[in-house]
């Protein structure tokens, strides 16, 4: 049998450039997501990202259409179509900004806790994070919305990034696991 090539994140934690805040955040996000999906029997839901993909695709669709139309019917003729495409494109850009600011709000992972009986709606877990530029404080928020009651509760923590990477920039997966599990139980034990 072929050897398993893809190592899990736990076996092979990512190594990043320690001075690149973006890379640190991505690595931590990926690790938190990995913990949520591997330690619990949750199923990842891609709905939020799919929504963003749809909005962007429509926007790019308008610009491609404008490009094609202008090529088929050179400018003075294509004026009306150009006008519509330009306006529609910038509206879509506005929608995209609204979507990322008010709906996604930094959520990088949505995990569903499927109801075993398949009767009640799933519990929804959301993980969101933020790391300010040139800052070392990684803000992590874990929230749970119970499918049955629709009640939401959440727990937040602030992690100092240098505690989660060794001097070579390799992610300390174990430390992330510890934090995520702690945060997860904080949420679960919170009274509504």
């Amino acid at each position: 049998m072929a050897e398993k090539v893809i190592a899990t994140m736990e076996e092979n934690p990512p190594k990043v450039n320690k001075w690149d805040g973006n890379a640190l955040k991505n690595a931590l996000d990926d690790a938190v997501k990995d913990v949520l999906l591997s330690r619990f029997s949750y199923v990842e839901s891609h709905r939020l990202l799919d929504g963003r993909l749809l909005i962007s695709s429509i926007a790019v669709g308008f610009s491609l259409f404008a490009l094609l139309w202008d090529w088929l019917y050179p400018f003075p003729q294509s004026r009306m179509v150009m006008c519509v495409c330009v306006v529609a494109y910038f509206i879509m850009m506005g929608v995209l900004t609204w979507y990322t600011t008010y709906l996604e709000r930094g959520i990088f992972c949505t995990a569903l806790n499927k109801d075993v009986a398949g009767i009640d709606p799933d519990d929804v877990w959301n993980a969101s994070s933020s790391l300010k530029r040139f800052d070392n404080k990684y803000h992590l928020c874990l929230s749970q919305k119970t499918g049955k009651t629709g009640k939401a509760k959440e727990a937040r923590t602030v992690l100092t990034v240098e505690n989660f990477f060794d001097e070579t920039g390799r992610l300390l997966y174990g430390s992330v696991v510890k934090e995520v599990l702690r945060l997860h139980s904080d949420v679960e034990h919170k009274k509504n």
Binding site: A23, R52, V60, C85, F90
Partner: protein, 179 residues
């Protein structure tokens, strides 16, 4: 072994994230394109911003000046104005001053142009047998200019390899750089 750690970020992404990465690149290009098309609609000119490529309009415009054009139908062409026009068989539009205008009652015009710094008018530049320009040849009229900025475009056009290298570099950076 070569350690390509900057690709690790990409390697960890799933198919949706990779697709978004491509879309993100497409949106950057699209935004530039749509601003350009928007300017076309607003100014009525098929090329609202042009770069002066020659010294034929000195001392008004120098090589590398950026010109902003409009091309509204209701504005008549008058002698003394600076117009940008296309000539059949030439890829690059020309920026010159209107020297003579003949206008008919129905509004059709034919006109002759000349570069301020040239000794002769433009008849030699026009297509074979063409003595006058008409409305349809006009790309726009100069409305404003920014000096020197366009020199970047000139350098890019003079050294196409440099241009493609810069564009490819930027493209790759956007594609592999995770937001």
């Amino acid at each position: 072994m070569l350690q390509l750690h900057f690709l690790d970020d990409l390697r960890r992404m799933n198919i949706r994230q990779l697709f978004y990465q491509v879309l993100n690149f497409a949106m950057i290009v699209s935004s530039a394109l749509m601003i350009w098309k928007g300017l076309m609609v607003v100014t009525g000119s098929e090329s609202p911003i042009v770069v002066v490529l020659s010294g034929s309009m000195e001392p008004a415009f120098h090589r590398g000046d950026l010109l902003f054009l409009t091309n509204y139908d209701h504005e008549p062409i008058r002698a003394g104005e600076i117009v940008v026009f296309k000539v059949e068989g030439r890829d690059i539009p020309i920026v010159h001053r209107v020297l003579k205008v003949h206008e008919k009652e129905d509004g059709t015009v034919k006109f002759l142009t000349k570069g301020d710094n040239n000794n002769v008018d433009d008849r030699g530049l026009y297509a074979n047998g063409q003595a006058w320009l008409s409305r349809k040849d006009v790309v726009g009229r100069a409305r404003g200019f920014v000096p020197y900025i366009g020199i970047v475009t000139i350098i890019m056009n003079d050294y196409p390899k440099f241009k493609y290298a810069v564009l490819a570099g930027l493209g790759v950076f956007v594609l592999i750089h995770r937001e």
